[in-house]
Amino acid sequence: MNQNFFPEYKYISRAYIFIIFMMCLTGFGQMPIFKRYYIADIPGLGWLAQYYLTHYIHYIGAILLFVISGYCAAAYFFAGRHHFRLTRSAYIRVILLAAITVTGIFRVLKNLPDIVFSPNFTMFIDISHLIFMLIFLMAAAWFLFTKSGWLMEKARISEN
């Protein structure tokens, strides 16, 4: 679709899907389930039960997603939006990703040595990060199923 206009789109979208997948895996890895349910016993998956390692990877994933988001936002605002617009499913994903990001940022802040949040707020951000992620996953799976992309050519919209 927008290959000519944005040739790196293909690579970025692959990287994005891979990182989101790793974020889910390492995010779920923050809960004590992979060992209980023998998943960490599968050869090559032992690392999933190592909390510090999965936490580290989750942070690296967040950093990469920030870079990708910054890059795509710049590409969209400086160039893309003249020819494309975000689809409705893209807006839904952007909102959900923003909610995950904001709660995630608070979790990162919580882990800094000098920041103490109230116990209730801590619980709220911990649990809402998980809930937003679950909603996002369902939405993303649905959009994958319905083949809803992120961008739509403006010309096509006016034709419709």
Binding site: P32, Y52, Y59, G70, A74, A79, L109, P113, P119
Partner: protein
């Protein structure tokens, strides 16, 4: 005697905190942590005689927080999930358990050429940046502004993650209590994790933690961390001693002062489940601090890269348009 020295200590703490007014044994608000002062405790190993009065005091003061499990326990799947039941072994006191939040460890060492048995209380260190609380997925383990780390028994699901990430493996599990019983007891969770909560409820009311108040030898003192660190250094300097907890795991709110190096103590103490070591411990959360800095830069780096890329593309398009226009002429 005991009261006088405790009072004089509190006064010293107050002077350090820059507050005035103290009466009786009640902790002033600065020591209750009401004004966000992180409090720390100092354990002077020289003074401990191993009488276990602190262990008894803890058990008595915190009896109503101890688990009262329902039996039989719900069957848990898969079978590798083991029941952890201490309810018939409440009197075990040579290690930490859900019913023993502090125990006395001992070490036979040579002090000044003389063989001696040193004893000292061991419990949660109340880390300044506690990985147990940082990494708890539900926020059941939490850090309070007054330097206490505590695990909320009504929220904890007993997954043992706090124990796994704690450098000293402090929290201890009891099956058959807590929230997991109301969710999916067979499939998720396995009780509640228990450990010293530094008597947060007593501190809130202005009392000292039970183990501190009942120690006949005044082994422990509590006060603003800065003051406790100063005091630890003063003692260490006086006796040519050593400090543990000032920098361990990025700094803890429990400091030990010992006449012998902690490597020596570490070799001499019995270590194992529920019996923590005295190893050197690096900051468990250092990776999170460092990566957080990278996280601040990341979106701007992405934006900048995207902007540069668009600028270059626009220039190329403009150049080729120019070329096209010239060729047409």
């Amino acid at each position: 005697m005991q009261k006088i020295s405790r009072r004089s200590f509190l006064k010293a703490g107050l002077a350090a905190a820059g507050t005035v007014g103290i009466s009786g044994l009640a902790l002033p608000s600065s020591l209750r942590g009401a004004d966000q002062t992180p409090l720390a405790t100092l354990i002077d190993i020289r003074k401990c005689v191993g009488c276990e009065a602190c262990v008894d005091a803890c058990k008595e003061a915190n009896a109503d927080k101890f688990p009262q499990p329902q039996k039989p326990f719900p069957k848990m799947y898969p079978s590798r999930v083991k029941v952890s039941d201490w309810s018939d072994k409440k009197e075990v006191r040579n290690r930490l358990t859900p019913y023993t939040w502090v125990f006395i460890q001992s070490a036979e060492v040579v002090v000044d050429g003389e063989k001696q048995t040193l004893t000292f209380p061991r419990r949660c260190m109340h880390c300044q940046n506690p990985p147990c609380a940082d990494l708890c997925p539900w926020g059941a383990a939490r850090k309070l502004e007054n330097g206490i780390t505590l695990i909320h028994a009504d929220i904890c699901l007993g997954g043992q993650k706090c124990k796994a990430v704690c450098p000293w493996s402090i929290p201890e599990q009891q099956t058959g209590v807590g929230l997991y019983l109301d969710i999916l007891p067979s499939l998720a969770g396995n009780g509640v994790m228990f450990k010293c909560d530094r008597c947060y409820n007593r501190l809130e009311k202005g009392s000292l933690p039970a183990c501190i108040e009942n120690c006949p030898e005044n082994v422990q003192t509590i006060g603003p961390r800065e003051e406790i660190v100063r005091q630890a250094h003063a003692i260490a300097k006086e006796i040519g001693g050593y400090i543990y907890g000032e920098t361990e795991n990025g700094g803890t709110n429990t400091l030990y002062v010992s006449p012998v190096p902690f490597e020596t103590l570490n070799k001499a103490v019995e270590k194992g489940p529920g019996q923590p070591h005295f190893n050197k411990v690096g900051d468990s959360m250092a990776h999170a601090d460092n990566l957080a800095k990278a996280m601040i830069i990341a979106p701007f780096a992405g934006l900048a890269a995207g902007a540069v890329r668009c600028y270059k593309a626009a220039k190329t398009i403009a150049a080729s348009a120019d070329k096209g226009a010239q060729e047409e002429k």
